[in-house]
Amino acid sequence: MLEAIKQPWPWYVAGALIGLTVPYLLLVGNKTFGISSSLRHLCAACIPGDVKFFKYDWKKEVWNLFFVGGITVGAFIAGHFLSNPDPIVLAEPTQAYLATKGITDTSSLQPSEIFSWEQLFTLRGFIFFVVGGFLVGFGTRYAGGCTSGHAIMGLSALQWPSLVATIMFMIGGIVMTWFILPYLLTL
């Protein structure tokens, strides 16, 4: 049983469980699914300053912070007790392409050539962690949601602005992957 759990889970199991988050949150507490708002609530709770956008009763949305806290704990459990001992199995063209950029370590979920503290102090690491993170935090709030709020919750509720947002997420990702990353990876 444990051996089976340690293997990577198929997409339909993960997709179904993530999809069930929508009715779970709605029926348990009348909450709509979304994760990026947690960053805004953290601003409102810790550093509201004189910014109108952060002046609201964040305690009414504190469930969202309990939710992301749970995600962190769940990931800790899975990463430390249920992790797959084998290398990640990548699509062959992806693996071959990344190898041409010097990314060959598939022993873990993240490539060790990028995801390390030593890398943080290189230009490439600065762009991957600091600039990339900033784009995620700024972009999701500007867009009014992320993959969970727009692509999953918004599309589930047939909100067409969420379809616009989801299409823009994909365009941004494709532009980065095909036109910018090839240079960033060789920095």
Binding site: V22, S38, C43, K52, A91, L120, L135, V136, S162
Partner: protein, 172 residues
């Protein structure tokens, strides 16, 4: 979109709801008051969610590369299945007027279009492909032991803060 960029007083009641709903999908008003530990039911689901994120390798930078390179079906399968399950659930809740466990009517706020979904969406897409993480997986990557992602998280937090500072100057 005048309504959206209008400054709102930080008061309680409906004005506070309007402020919280600005540029946010996941805000909702429940009239019920519960003790704090009721929030643990969200933590419990979060734990399951975090395990799924790691076990289905959704938090992997590699899987995001595969997705944007159109070389693997995995992430499309995950997101597609999640949307179908969510869609069916919402339709069932609406059609049969299913109420929450506390008897409240389920409420899903309508999303209005503004230019932020275009510009912000594009920015997030660029960041997603480089970090390999949307906000949920950011928390999960840290939990799973990739400690350098704490920097990504802090930077994302600052990104949201800077957006809050600039929002009235940005096109919406």
């Amino acid at each position: 979109m005048e309504k959206i960029i209008q400054p709102l007083p930080a008061a309680s009641g409906t004005n506070d709801l309007a402020t919280r709903e600005l540029d946010a999908m996941c805000v909702n008003e429940s009239e019920l008051k519960h003790p704090w530990w009721h929030n643990l039911k969200y933590s419990a689901w979060g734990v399951l969610f975090g395990i799924v994120f790691v076990k289905a390798e959704i938090i992997s930078w590699f899987r995001i590369q595969e997705m944007f390179r159109f070389e693997s079906f995995h992430m499309y399968g995950v997101i597609g299945t999640a949307v179908v399950v969510g869609l069916i659930s919402v339709q069932l809740i609406k059609r049969y007027h299913i109420r929450t466990v506390h008897g409240e009517t389920v409420h899903i706020a309508d999303k209005t279009f503004n230019k932020g979904q275009v510009y912000g969406g594009l920015m997030f897409g660029l960041g997603w492909a480089v970090t390999g993480a949307c906000p949920g997986p950011l928390f999960a990557q840290i939990g799973a032991g990739y400690s350098v992602v704490i920097v990504t998280f802090l930077s994302a937090w600052m990104g949201t803060y800077v957006y809050g500072l600039l929002r009235e100057k940005l096109p919406h």
